[in-house]
Amino acid sequence: MTGRRRLAVVTGASRGLGAAIARLLARERYDLLLTAREPRALQAIATELRGMGGCVATRSGDVADPRHRRAVAAAVRGRGRLDLLVNNASELGPAPLPPLVDYPLPALEHVLRVNAVAPLALVQELADPLAAGRGLVVNITSDAASGAYPGWGGYGASKAALELLSRTLARELAGRRISVVSVDPGDLRTAMHQAAFPGQDISDRPTPEVTIPFWGWLLHQDRTAISGQRFRAQADRWELPA
């Protein structure tokens, strides 16, 4: 840490949970590479975080787009090592949430590409700098990964896939000292959550800042010890494996 500033990549950092995580990382003195599709909101958060003194770069684009991912990887390679990759960018899919029997298949393929294939693709692109930094990959999942909630089947399937990718990567990459966890942040008052409950009042859900204590905890754990685990940020305990 001394002499070298740590680098983190956070996808989907322009609002919601990704912005809250990026804010904490900036205060924890990480340099940041932030992504989202829409450049304006992304610039706004980058400007805010630069005010905290760190180096904040942005790459706008769609995580499902291989060219965008290569641009992210090129920016990271300039630094050599990556300490943290937060695969946070996700899409809910069509709203209101369609039952699977009516789910438009192109939309399902898109949700799977953004939520499951793209996080894996970023790990592939960034494996070398992650290995050099003994990095941690955090894949943001959801209780819909196991909940079988009507309407949530497409999104849930993408998160279920992401969780299995996480656990398998954790084992496959242990030898390269890359650690992988999945984190279910719990219900949060964000644009995505509102899209899932159109027209409903979601003001009883907490803002993404409710997860700050969890991130403070997670970032200071022994990475190799937690690799392969799934955590719930709003749970009443965060347990290390026995």
């Binding site: 205060r27 409710v210 204590p213 403070g216 009443d236 347990e239």
Partner: protein, 368 residues
Amino acid sequence: MIAARSAPEVAAVRAADRTPEARGVARDRVRLLASSATGDADRSFADLPELLEPGDLLVVNESATLAASLPAEGPFGRFRLHLSTRYGPDLWLAEPRWSGARPGPLPIPDGLRFRVAGVRATAVARFPGIPRLAFLRFDGDLEAAMARDGAPIRYGYFAEDAPLAAYQTVFATVPGSAEMPSAARPFTPRLVRRLVRRGIRFARVVLHAGVSSLEDGDDVTGAPPILPEPFEVPEATCRAIREVRGSCGRVIAVGTTVVRALESAFHGGEVRPSRGFTRRYVSPAQPVRSVDGLVTGWHAAGTTHLALLRGLAGEGIVRRSYARARELGYLWHEFGDSQLLLPGSGRPARGAGAYFALERPARARSAW
């Protein structure tokens, strides 16, 4: 949600404003109310060996108290910083206060830099729902700062300037608590020897208690009742609990921190080896499954402490014993008197009458 409506009326309680030693009472001679389903017996803590039975297991918290109150200085002047919980080598949750008696919040925006006992600190983020508490990052050796300039956290009702040693229990070996795990304070080496001779077993957990999450006048809407706290329940303790359960002995927690640690480690019907952070809240809605009894102190109404007691013993016993302790003039708070709570869950209730049978020779529980 925090202040349960049915809270025992404790307006007239007497606070222990000094240590027992300063009051001329030996550590293990504070008063002890032995409470069961059928009554309350006014005893001395030193009677504990007779109040328990051979084969019972006392689970204790090995957390030691930190000199967690540090002098600090910001752009608005001097203040006091109470360290609460260590999240990482240089990341702490802490409570900036105007003084021990005067809570915050202080004007400390995220990103503000200030000094704590000579060590540079930066405000990282507010604790969600509790603006009084902030995550702080330190550049420097906080342990040395605590050793040099730290004092135990002391609240307004406590008048004595007691040294850190007064805040340590006989079981304290792992530093980390902002507030003393006070239920174990009356235990002395002599008393522990007597308990062991009587056939009472001991097992250990660690739970580092942070600062109290709530303070009178706090806006508690949306605030979590318990802060996340580091805990560990080792394998040997799980084994001891299994053995005691197998021989019909009772598992008795020394302090609510122990109950919270054991409840946090309760998976699939038993206590399993666990470590991490927990903010497990015990209340009648989430009742206790891991212990049969509790040794504890007397604490204010509307606190998470009383919710836990109700979750362990039920409303009736708690209400009755609190009224009795008040009548008897028991002293409240962490340097006050004690309670042995054996609600008799899962076994025949033992009335206060049983406490007369002290002269009876010790007999193993397996006899019945």
